[in-house]
Amino acid sequence: MAVLVIAEHDNASLKDATNKVVTAAKAIGGDVDVLVAGANASAAAQAAAKIDGVRKVLHADSPALAKQLAEAMEALIAPLMANYDAVLFPATTTGKNAAPRVAAKLDVMQVSNIIGVEGPDTFVRPIYAGNALITVKDPQPKKVITVQPTAFKAAAEGGNASIETIAAPDGPFKSAFVSEEMAKSDRPELTAAKRVVSGGRALGSNEEFHRVLDPLADKLGAAVGASRAAVDAGYAPNDYQVGQTGKVVAPELYVAIGISGAIQHLAGMKDSKVIVAINKDEEAPIFQVADYGLVQDYKTAVPELMEELTKAGV
């Protein structure tokens, strides 16, 4: 049994999601190799070689792989599967884009977004926005799987795997990268943050959203998230969205401010270790999942919270 893990990285650095997918791969069993596909991605390959339990890192480097577009990833990964029984992608936008393409090329039905491994061929995954969980048996000889990184602990460092350079696909490909516009922030990335402060529609405007949430997030060293209602109303950009149609987060501390707690939002944050809800509506469903609920208008609650955090030395 050999499992290939597709690394999540930005060429310069390896993302923590990779370590989490390695943990899922170890649970499946067998040898675990990591593929780093990128452009000038040696640093990411070296970081992958240090993950505990990794046998070998495959490193493919080419300008065509700079953005890990689906066509190039398919051309690279599908032939590699002659040597592997399973390939695991992180369920990030990059992984979700490429994995089904590889699966179809291999005539394999993919197992999407697993949150648990019950055996080498048996997995648990959410459906209906996490309102039901199915246990799926995959009898196919080759498996293509996407892994919800927040559901697994990150594999620690401590390994010393060899790095093998492999050929990158030639192309040309019928899609081309034009540009990107990444949100610039000194705050941690939402899905990787240990603390998240999220705002909902109650904030009322884009200005108010940032006026209230940004200082609190900075104080806590937290990432900022938003409910879909807040995103739809234009208070926050879409990449802030936590929920079924946005990002799934599982931080140690999740602070929901002015969020009612629609099912689709809960699907994205209910695995957080500690959930705090601040909402003036006592009946808001968010209180049904919150460890600590404060029924108070955010307008007074957040300033008081800031003050108490300062007093507590945070």
Binding site: N238, A290, E304
Partner: protein
């Protein structure tokens, strides 16, 4: 340009999902079914390409064909797309679950017959949440793909697509024919007007079966059990920010 829009019939997004007590699946009996919201966005975008709207030139699309894979009742889902403005429909009639791989194979057969220049479909269905069909269809056709689209600009035989990716936006050029999957902010679908709903009833729907298309849709994966997710217990209400900070310190998260 001809645009093909696959649409899926799913449990209405406003309804609460109930797992059957015996764990054999989700209870859908007597519940309202609707067009998958991401599919509706795809239909809206295709119709704007025809009508001229959302930044598209009028007649950028000459014909919009809606296709659904599903039971007889999926005709209603197709009618929904026709009421938004699609020209005609194709139902591939299948009772029972079809996995994304099977759906992609059926759609490939439809694409081979219809020869569209663009297939635009939802990024995921809100029932099985696979997020796979579009990418699989692209692979089977060897077409380029632009998933999670929030903006589409058509010109000179290509589509320039802005994609919602982790951390921001990414723009790609894809040569046509291509596959585009829709994200939420691509557009806001219209409410179909009554005259258009009536007109939709007269538009043709062609019905086929997987065997007509020569496709085996036997599922590959076996669902062993369906369960409710573990319930999170509601915690305590605190009276003040001071008490909250105290509790958070106790919990060791500050």
């Amino acid at each position: 340009m001809k645009v093909l829009v696959p649409v899926k019939r799913v449990l209405d997004f406003n309804l609460k999902v109930r797992v059957k007590p015996d764990g054999s699946g989700v209870d859908l009996s007597n519940l309202k079914m609707s067009i998958n919201p991401f599919c509706e966005i795809a239909v809206e975008e295709a119709v704007r390409m025809k009508e001229g709207g959302g930044g598209h030139a009028k007649d950028a699309a000459k014909e919009v064909v809606a296709v659904s894979i599903g039971p007889e009742q999926a005709q209603e889902t197709i009618r929904n797309a026709l009421a938004i403005g699609a020209d005609r429909g194709i139902l591939v009639r299948v009772d029972g679950e079809v996995e994304p791989l099977g759906v992609a194979k059926l759609l490939k057969a439809v694409v081979d017959a219809e020869k569209p220049d663009l297939v635009i479909l939802g990024k995921q269905a809100i029932d099985d949440d696979n997020n796979a069909t579009g990418q699989m269809l692209a692979a089977l056709l060897d077409w380029p793909q632009a998933t999670f689209a929030s903006k589409i600009v058509l010109q000179d035989g290509k589509a320039t697509v802005t994609r919602e990716v982790d951390g921001g936006l990414q723009t790609l050029d894809v040569e046509l024919p291509a596959i585009i999957t829709t994200d939420l902010r691509l557009n806001e679908p219209r409410y179909a007007s009554l005259p258009n709903i009536m007109k939709a009833k007269k538009k043709p729907i062609d019905v086929k079966t997987p065997s007509d298309l020569g496709v085996d849709v036997t599922p590959r994966l076996q669902v062993m059990k369906t369960a409710e997710p573990p319930k999170r217990q509601a915690g305590v209400k605190v009276k003040s920010a001071a008490e909250l900070v105290g509790k958070l310190k106790e919990a060791g998260v500050l």
